[in-house]
Amino acid sequence: MSALLDVRDLSVAIGGRRVVEGVSFGLAAGETFALLGESGCGKSLTALALMRLLPPVARIERGNVEFDGRELFALPESKMRSLRGGGMAMIFQEPATSLNPVMTIGEQIDEVIRLRDGKEGRAVELLEAVGIPDAERRAGEFPFQLSGGMKQRAMIAMALAGEPRLLIADEPTTALDVTIQAQVLDLLKDLQRRRGMALLLITHDLGVAARMADRVGVMHAGQLVEVSDTKQFFRGPAHPYSRRLFASLPENLAKPPEVGGEAKEFLAVQDLTVHFPIRRGLLRRTVGQVRAVDGVSLKVSRGRTLAIVGESGCGKTTAGKAILQLITPTAGRVSLDGRDLDELAPRDVQMVFQDPFGSLNPRLRIGQIIAEGMTAQGIEGDIGALLEQVGLDADMASRYPHEFSGGQRQRIAIARALAVDPRLLICDEPTSALDVSVQAQIIALLRDLQARRGLAYLFITHNISVVDYLAHDVAVMYLGRIVEQGNVDEVLRGAKHPYTQALLAAVPRIDGTSGECLLVPGDPPSPARPPSGCHFHPRCPRVMDRCRAGYPGAVTLSATHRLHCHLYT
């Protein structure tokens, strides 16, 4: 095969710092090449350099790129513009910001078509090609009326409008839920096969690379450290950095130790309900309720971890905040050791937040941040010792948050929570903003702290693959309700609810074995208007008439394993 794209010795510099250094690779028509690496490794800049869309501060230092026999860096900008969209097209990570909010989807796609061949009206056809149902109506809608998955499909349709021969996808599914990610990846693969496009996939996710790519290139600190055939790469990576990436995958971490005496119930949540009123009109009358959390009951035992798993918008974060009384629950009871939580001091339960950049006040020193809870609760404590406990140096207390990396900030946030000596820690996606290798360190730290201090965790996550390596018990949430719960083995290896099965199947594995079973179609419905009957029935592959009629009652399979599904009643 002759190469469609040939990159030789590409170097990009920002200021005096070289961020991409001597990268060379080739890509043939119909082939998928995955550029794999952690954040800041230069993979996105490489892609932007190919399109000649680098930000003004970045500069191509040397190297050349040949696309279809033409030297890209020698082309005048006018030629380059016709090549973008036509020869090569790009889709971006964040579908919400890649579309113009004041133009309809159809107009935006037509704009690209018009630039190409002056014809219009193929928008509907393209939307159908990317699997958007009811394309005629959707073409006349604005981006805010579409879900995240649909927006990404619309973006892909836009990229396809110019009939490109190379599609560059920069983290196309990172902002999407796993079930939607599976749909979009399948779509990309299918389109590529039908149109014979070359696909340059940029991703940080080894699972996505394993599922999609023919060949894989690993980038680290601006350099392409390993290029290899996908099968060979996942059988045994050669470069030490690649091996380190594999080692930090949650799949390759050791399992959490089993805790004895598990019957000791510690946190008990009964029928927790959080409804947000929807107000309309001049008098702000309540016209409906967003049922963010709709009757959730949980139990966490001392020294154990309960993971709440669910897709975005299922109410898992709201549930966590309601347990902490950060959001006032509409109904339900939360008790700790038999006492109602609102009678307890806030020091018993603490929270670690998702975004390590938003959870520390940039105007305060680390020492002040950690001391805040102790001052508020009137306790004395050693800040240096706390910092050392989370693996930082005691003398970092006098520094400001901006001097720390994401992983270090998350350690500081953990130290802040530990400062008041809580017994339960609610972790709201503490690792989802971090790179895999850092994620592994934070999970190891959390486990270490649990073993030493006997903490109980409520671990909220959308990433079902980390659950196995941290949690003892799992609860799966869908649209404000828990659909299945049990211990890790029962839920992850003996999943009974179709939704849990779909979630598990949608996770891209590095052995490339996913996707053979059920793919859930469609998007999660809105919690303002939940479907009648079982909430999952519009997407369920095994739906029955009964499912549409009424919400299934609890089915108890074992002492710990319970679910809500008509299949088992």
Binding site: L324, L326, F353, G358, P362, H402, R416
Partner: protein
Amino acid sequence: MMPVILWSDALFFLLIAVTLGGAGWARRHEHLRASWAMVWASRRARAAAAVLAVFFAIGFVDSLHYRPQLPVEAGKPPAYSVEVLSALDALLTPLRTHTEKTYSAPLATHSFAKETQEAGGRDFPPLKYPGTHLFGTDKVGQDVLYLTLKSIRTGLLIGTLTTLIMLPAAVLLGIVAGYVGGWVDDVIQYLYTTLNSIPGVLLIAAAVLMMQVVIDTHPDWFATAAERADARLLALCAILGITSWTGLCRLLRGETLKLREMEYVQAARAFGVGPLAIMLRHILPNLMHIVLIALVMDFSGLVLAEAVLSYVGIGVDPNTISFGTMINAARLELAREPMVWWSLAAAFVFMFALVLAANLFADAVRDAFDPRAA
């Protein structure tokens, strides 16, 4: 001589003390020091700051007021003049006292208007101080350069005291509205929406005229004419402050709404930290860049507002020397034939320099402090 401290002097000194104190405080904070270092790194900002420093120095010297002692008569206690002078007047004594009869062009040797000569006939009479008036003289023969230098203090006072008055209201109400929300937010929003819907000039005119009536009916409150003019100046600052806090308040409310949902605020709430402490520790410091930027940007607008209001006749006391009163006087001068252009030109040049320097400095401050611009 007897030192006199007018209310506006006291507030001006307080403001300078607060600024110096704030600078000292900023020096001890690393992130502030870094941002200010960024401001100083810009050559344009340094030049603008130098110009501003000159203006403020003039304003400061002009705020040191006193009443000169009259010649002592034997056996009587010392008496003081009713005229209030400032240190600037003392420094500019030749300029202040060298008055001509009427208009004269810049650096002229002869008067601008013909007069009947004693020797007979009409001619341009020679000036008493020929060639010394850099910007000429006005209708009553006062040196225009002296007038413009005296105008600086008025401009600075309006620009700074007004912000001093509006700032607490804007910051307090903005943060409370954003953080507390609910009916408190509604009340504050209605308040500033209502204030915003009243035409500003009308509101200021009504308030200034009312104030004028109060001042006129209580002549016993003021020992000197300078004190009376000062009261009106302060009243003008107050009313400008009351009408101009709404913009900043709205900005701060919006930003607080965003900050309230930040995870560090939620973490503080999870620790049981009270709302007041959260507003002071977590919200206010993260709003300070907006406050600082708004402060420096508003300053130039207010200096211009004073000129406009005095031109309309609802600004400062007619006895107070200000850019506005100078421009107001220039209205008639421009209608003369040949035209008397120099007082307007002098007021224009100085005001332009002040406002341009303030704007350039504000730009540099915004670039250094606005996290989104970085």
